[in-house]
Symmetry: C2
Subunit: 259 residues, 2 copies
């Protein structure tokens, strides 16, 4: 049974923060382990002798920190850490593509989870200014826009949207739902755009409500945003890929020279 202290009414820290602090300590010291249920609101009200809103505010703080998740009708639980995918920067190397597999599949086999892709859409649009600039297009050029969602062991972990200049995608499988073995990059190379290098821009923020839905995100879990641009051997930008990843499920690895 979990042992908790009492509120110090003379403390300037408000009661709800004191309660949040005690629960946080219980979690960080291992008195409450991942997946375990916290005392119910009723139990906390009894123990601390406060109103319901006070304990709810404490729990609310912990949720915003991503420490706990609450499940309607069941209870509040210490958030279990999901398995973490380490993404190495060689994940788009040609040797993987040569095997006919997409980067996400290769990664899945290495790490031992079952990969899945859904919600694939393919459209043709005018690029937004950011994409246009990266692809060095005018706003009047067209791009093929490919969106999809990636799942690992059935759980959404990432959404991705690729933008490919229509002139490069024209008449290739890039315009179809199934791009064939090796994915977009293999088709671009088939078309003579031999890939040379990528740049990635990494940031993080809280998800929008739509992203929370699409990625089934608990409160208190941010997203990593990664915008990748692919260049061919003529230094032509051939694709921009905008991805939103569940932050708790990823570690991105990069190598670079000291010279």
């Amino acid at each position: 049974m979990l042992q908790l202290g009492q509120i110090d009414r003379s403390d300037d820290k408000p009661p709800y923060r004191q309660i949040a602090g005690m629960l946080r300590d219980a979690i960080s010291t291992g008195q409450l382990i991942a997946g375990e249920r916290l005392p119910s609101e009723a139990a906390l009200i009894d123990h601390f002798g406060v109103a319901r809103m006070t304990v709810r505010q404490a729990v609310q703080d912990l949720r915003a920190e991503g420490l706990v998740i609450s499940e309607h009708g069941r209870g509040v639980f210490v958030r279990p850490a999901p398995p973490i995918r380490r993404l190495a920067s060689d994940r788009f190397a040609r040797r993987h593509r040569a095997s006919g597999k997409a980067a996400f599949t290769v990664e899945a086999e290495k790490s031992g989870y079952s990969p899945q892709v859904d919600n694939i859409t393919v459209t043709r649009e005018k690029p937004n200014p950011t994409v246009a600039e990266r692809l060095r297009l005018t706003p009047d050029d067209e791009v093929v826009v490919r969106s999809r969602r990636y799942l690992a062991d059935g759980r959404p972990v990432e959404t991705a949207t690729s933008y490919i200049p229509a002139t490069f995608a024209q008449g290739t499988k890039i315009e179809q739902t199934d791009t064939g073995p090796g994915g977009i990059y293999a088709r671009l190379e088939d078309a003579g755009h031999i890939l040379d290098r990528f740049t990635e821009e990494v940031g993080a923020r809280m998800p929008t409500p739509e992203e929370r839905r699409a990625l089934q995100l608990a409160t208190g879990v941010p997203v990593l945003t990664v915008v990748r641009t692919a260049y061919d051997t003529n230094d032509v930008a051939v694709e921009v890929c905008d991805t939103v990843k569940v932050a708790s499920a990823y570690l991105l690895e990069y190598d670079f020279s000291a010279r």
Copy 2:
């Protein structure tokens, strides 16, 4: 004056979500711009005909998303986007170091903000298991631990903790608060450890309460965690640097080959 709709009581979306949605729309459509004040709680209560806790819960949602910040006694404001530092992966290149400047200073001059470092502490400790593994040390070896906080135009943007094997730091300025021109890396190279490459591991999460204090973080702003390991030309790990960055203030750029 801001125009807002009314709550639809027959909607299954609860009133507080409807209110949050309308405010969110007002922000995303530009009816409320960065830095502008939202209607006061009293005004929202009047307008929507709900209890105070209902409008507070709506605002709470927006705070957790990082869309607004509330200031006690002043109001709730659309969160202004802070200037974003783009960190290129060549920021530790030797040519910068040669000029006698630390990476943070070089970055500051390029981007035009005033750099500052404070809270510098230097201790000698046994490494924790993670650091020990990265530095290929035994738990009995010692490391010099250097912590500091970086500020841009007076605002905290990052905390960093470096771990250097004591055998490499011994007798150098690395053990002192002021490491001299070019910083730790210059001193390691003075000592014959010519730097060859770095690896970085990037993740994101919500800050701990201590981090929120140290970085003066508003609610709804995650942190980027970057763990960098430096290797010398003998492939010896000579430093691990653990950094926590305000996510809204950074974009990390990396380049890598397609081969």
